[in-house]
Symmetry: C2
DNA sequence: ATGAAAGCGCTAACAC
DNA sequence: GTGTTAGCGCTTTCAT
């Protein structure tokens, strides 16, 4: 392995000068710089990142922990985060938590290992009871739900308002019996509970009765469970003319399940999702959805984290208390709601 | 920051003993171990991975460089790789190459930085001309196309055979004028060229004429371009009753484009894709596809890499020459081809 | 503009 | 079963 010393010897300078060149420090004579660069090239030198990390205490990398990378939503989120991080000169390493509390705690511990300068944790499993576990001494930003008023910065979706708008949209389009396919509600600030609240609010506002038979809870927010829920609804005998799906992934399954049940969208039933994943625009019928401003949320999360990382550099300065950011959204009306 | 020294002092042992405990070495008295563990807990000690990496020269992490994480195929591939790597005690860090030659070269350089013990590179941009650039002194496995007979292990899809089977399937289902939506062909061993070859072979085998007007090349393998290609085909006046799409992502776009053109699938036109992404089963109509054995390919790629990493540990032993593995596939017939 | 000294936190190799 | 020594490759600090 070629070290900075080897390069220094070959270029006839000290290791420090080589270091200066590598790190683009200004005070190096042009001629010297070129001599060093030539030596680097000839010897095939590469910095040893581990050594640099040890010395500087920084890695230039942030961790992004998401439930599962193979769900479209998280893949697209990851892409946004990577783009935002690049703007701060940060790289992103992706972790999977398996949508479990244990996985999320493991991701927190990893970060503590100083592998990353900070962590963006997309929570699904952690709840209010875990607030204390977030009191770690390294930068963390929570992206998602289930922890409010925690000790760390938090970027959340406009869950209640978005769900209300989605449901109201169905009602506007003429639906009178709107079903809901959502995940397990823990009665806390999890995604399903919040979107459920929005759904209820919209019904109330329109003076429509709430019918528990029209709520189809599923265990995991997957296409498979969405399809099964739709078939269950269709087979239950309960009449419905609209479905609000807690996520687009679930909605894709619901569209399939409705087709399996011989129901036509949007003629018999109108459907709307949440997340506005890229696939939605290409489905037949194309999927109406709530579009949280993903880029803004990703940018805010990375921004918060970058600030916290910078804070740690300065001694003493504690920086602002835990911040909360709730994104904005827009409604995208497509064929599945008759657009 | 709490170091191993602090723990040693608190537990009344030497740093080495703490190290032994952390690394689960067997020769530590039970009582000592517990004393150390208690100290670790009380002080909140966490290993400094950078220091360990520097010392051992290993990181326990492999890199996975894919074109874009937000395409379903790569998200699902990443999930398979992560699962396979976990079986070898390896973690995975995901890089994006942006589907460009430069991005792929950058990923190679990063790995060289010793951030990772090895790299799985999903190539799209690198070509035969870049063979020499792969002659790096750290473990690399190529997953994908465009480099055969390179200096490194290579795991490839059954591109030609799969494409032939897909096209033959359309013909079996009664199609006589099969269109092809593929990417840019560079006349080399890129995905589009190989699958094009398979398409041609199937036409020849069935005694069907090749009509260049039925080939719709697109610049990027996205849903957007797929939809545009389908509309172009439909508007061209050229008759066709089947479409083989070079990937499922493209096929999703094609299904949309056909719907936009007033064509019904599978009645007017039958459609088949390649990759068998999870979404395909839930589309309406569900998408027929070629299913490469993703898990086997991921497992093989990780296995190759793990062996190469182990080799580097032993001095001298060179290990086998570059290996080549071409996966198997099966055809999944769904509604889009009339199943 | 360049360099010397020191040490980041850990573990391999070897004692005992 | 436990401890000593040494040093991985780099950069911070301070000098010149």
């Amino acid at each position: 392995m070629v070290t900075i010393q080897d390069v220094a010897k070959a270029a006839g300078v000290s290791p420090m000068t080589v270091s200066h060149v590598i790190n683009h420090h200004p005070h190096v004579k042009n001629e010297t710089r070129e001599r060093v660069l030539r030596a680097i090239d000839e010897l095939g030198y590469r910095v040893n990142v581990a050594a640099r990390n040890l010395r500087t205490g920084r890695t230039g990398t942030i961790g992004l922990a998401v439930p599962e990378v193979d769900r479209p939503y998280y893949g697209q989120l990851a892409a946004e985060i990577i783009a935002a991080a690049a703007g701060h000169g940060l790289k992103v390493a992706i972790e999977q938590t398996g949508a479990s509390r244990e996985g999320e705690l493991a991701a927190l511990a990893l970060s503590r290992n100083r592998l990353y300068d900070g962590l963006i944790l997309s929570t699904v499993g952690l709840g209010p009871a875990d607030t204390d576990l977030l009191k770690v001494d390294h930068p963390v930003v929570i992206l998602g739900e289930r922890i409010f008023d925690g000790p760390v910065d938090h970027v959340a979706m406009p869950n209640v308002a978005g769900a209300r708008a989605a449901t109201a949209h169905l009602i506007e389009r003429g639906c009178r019996r709107v079903a809901l396919v959502d995940g397990l509600r823990r009665g806390e600030v999890d995604v399903s509970s919040l979107r459920y609240d929005g759904y209820r609010e919209a019904l109330d506002a329109a003076g429509l009765p709430f019918d528990p038979r029209l709520v189809a809870p599923i265990e995991r927010l997957t296409m498979e469970h969405g399809a099964a829920a739709a078939r269950r609804l269709a087979g239950s005998g309960a009449e419905f003319d609209g479905v609000f799906c807690v996520t687009d992934t679930v909605a894709i399954g619901v569209l399939r399940g409705l087709a399996d049940s011989g129901l036509s969208v949007p003629r018999d039933v109108k459907v709307i999702g949440f997340d506005n994943v890229a696939e939605g625009a290409y489905l037949v019928p194309s999927l109406s959805s709530i579009d949280p401003d993903h880029a803004l949320m990703a940018g805010t999360a990375v921004g918060f984290l970058a600030e916290r990382i910078a804070e740690k550099g300065k001694k003493g300065a504690r920086g602002p208390a835990a911040r909360e950011f709730i994104g904005d959204f827009s409604l995208v009306a497509r064929e599945s709601t008759g657009a």
